[in-house]
Symmetry: C2
Subunit: 281 residues, 2 copies
């Protein structure tokens, strides 16, 4: 899915929502586990996806929640990605893996997520620099999503300090390097910026005026959708807002999928108002 | 395995070698694939492990090479870890995963590697700060290995720049934070320092005088064992030197395990001389 196709989906669905499938075996309804002890995560995911797909343009699967179930969890991760790709080809499928390593190793990660799994996008961590990101960027028809300013409290341990050599904040330095030297273009890359740091979006938009930003932290982590739009929205939206727990665990009873759909629809409605307010639709 | 047990193993084996099982399906001998098309990576690993275990104190499994084979690769990763743990309980098993995420997510990664897989150690990336590391450090009988100064060229993109607020190099800042504020003690944590940056070990030892350092980059990447020892060795060795490709791909014929053992023994002999030279054995 390229930049324009993603924007078309946003206009069509009047939504820039991404639903995070952080599917925790301890939080899914008991009857799912009872019905399918072997594949409960992917069963849960399918029900959530079928119920919410009208309201969302992307799903994000966090590898940690699948790896904590061993190889069987990895299989369910893979099955979920392929389920979305085959049933809903217009959806952007993000694997939130936050990988990083030397080039030789990142080639293997890129193969895992972009070829075997056929995900559209993968998140990567920039601590190791260009070598660790460029193996992903080589895939021109895929998206590499680079961590910039994350939503957690301790992002201040490094990301919001300044680099002495150029005076930039660390996350700004990463944005500059990525776009100027690593080949992170607006049609092959996005950046992660936490909704809990909405005002920083002003600074971020000075460097990446067109790139899509993947924004976690609205919902359970406390970020505001209004603020994110105020500081970060572009003419082509440029925002993908992730919401995980507040949607997928809206209920832990048999009505979990309906409850998730209701919550997703509420969020989509808020997004529709924002898209109208800023003249995008 | 605790700090003293690791040091005892180093003295007993006269080796501080870690063999990296970066097992690439395209590089293993053809007959392995022919014999066991389902589990070639773990078959290869078992042969390498049985042949080299006398000369090494640790094995490091790089998750990328297993993930690029899908869920079946993950199963072989898990099988290899469990094979080492059950057959050679005195060996340190490191999963080189370089994970990082918010706390809620890192709890799942820690569960995956420390509980389900029962690895002794896992590598983590520090870009997201304390939240992303402390879920691993909570496991007091395990090792959290934090990236500090990596062996790749583009580590200079971020790690060797200075933080304006405190004048520290980024990797030094991470070492300081980890040891002073995150709870990274010498008995529950190590740091990754590339052998290609041996002179930086002087600065690193000013901050972490006792911690074990995991040193990749000797061998194929060009780092020198002599230099690493000169600048980084401690009274209790304090070094685990990883060598992957130069050992496990010493031959790609039927004699691959013997060739790996020969190469591992050569490296062990060099290490024995170093341990003697510095009065450790």
């Amino acid at each position: 899915m390229n930049y324009d196709q993603l924007f078309q989906q946003i206009k069509k669905k009047k939504s820039f929502l991404c639903i995070g499938l952080d599917t925790d075996i301890e939080k899914i309804p008991a009857y799912i586990l009872k019905n399918n002890i072997d594949m409960p995560l992917s069963d849960f995911n399918k029900a959530i996806i079928d119920a919410t797909v009208k309201h969302t343009v992307a799903y994000k699967l966090n590898t940690a929640f699948y790896e904590s179930q061993g190889w069987n969890g990895w299989m369910q991760l893979d099955m979920t990605v392929k389920y979305i790709k085959s049933h809903y080809p217009d959806i952007l499928v993000i694997v939130d893996a936050k990988r990083s390593d030397i080039g030789n190793t990142c080639n293997q990660y890129a193969k895992a997520f972009f070829e075997l799994m056929d995900a559209d996008a993968v998140t990567v961590a920039p601590y190791m620099g260009k070598d660790s990101v460029s193996p992903f960027l080589k895939y021109k028809d895929k998206w590499t999503i680079i961590l910039a300013l994350t939503s957690n409290d301790s992002s201040s341990d490094l990301q919001t300090l300044h680099i002495e050599e150029n005076g930039l904040l660390v996350f700004d330095h990463i944005l500059s390097l990525a776009t100027n030297e690593w080949g992170a273009e607006s049609d092959n890359s996005m950046f992660v910026v936490g909704a809990t740091k909405a005002e920083s979006l002003v600074l971020i938009r000075e460097i990446v005026s067109d790139h899509f930003l993947l924004i976690p932290g609205v919902g359970t982590q406390g970020g505001s959708l209004e603020d994110v739009a105020k500081y970060g929205i572009t003419r082509k939206c440029g925002l993908i807002i992730n919401n995980s727990r507040a949607i997928i665990y809206a209920s832990n009873n048999n009505d979990f999928a309906e409850a998730a759909a209701k919550k997703a629809r509420e969020t989509q409605k808020e997004m529709e108002e924002i898209l109208q307010k800023y003249g995008i639709i």
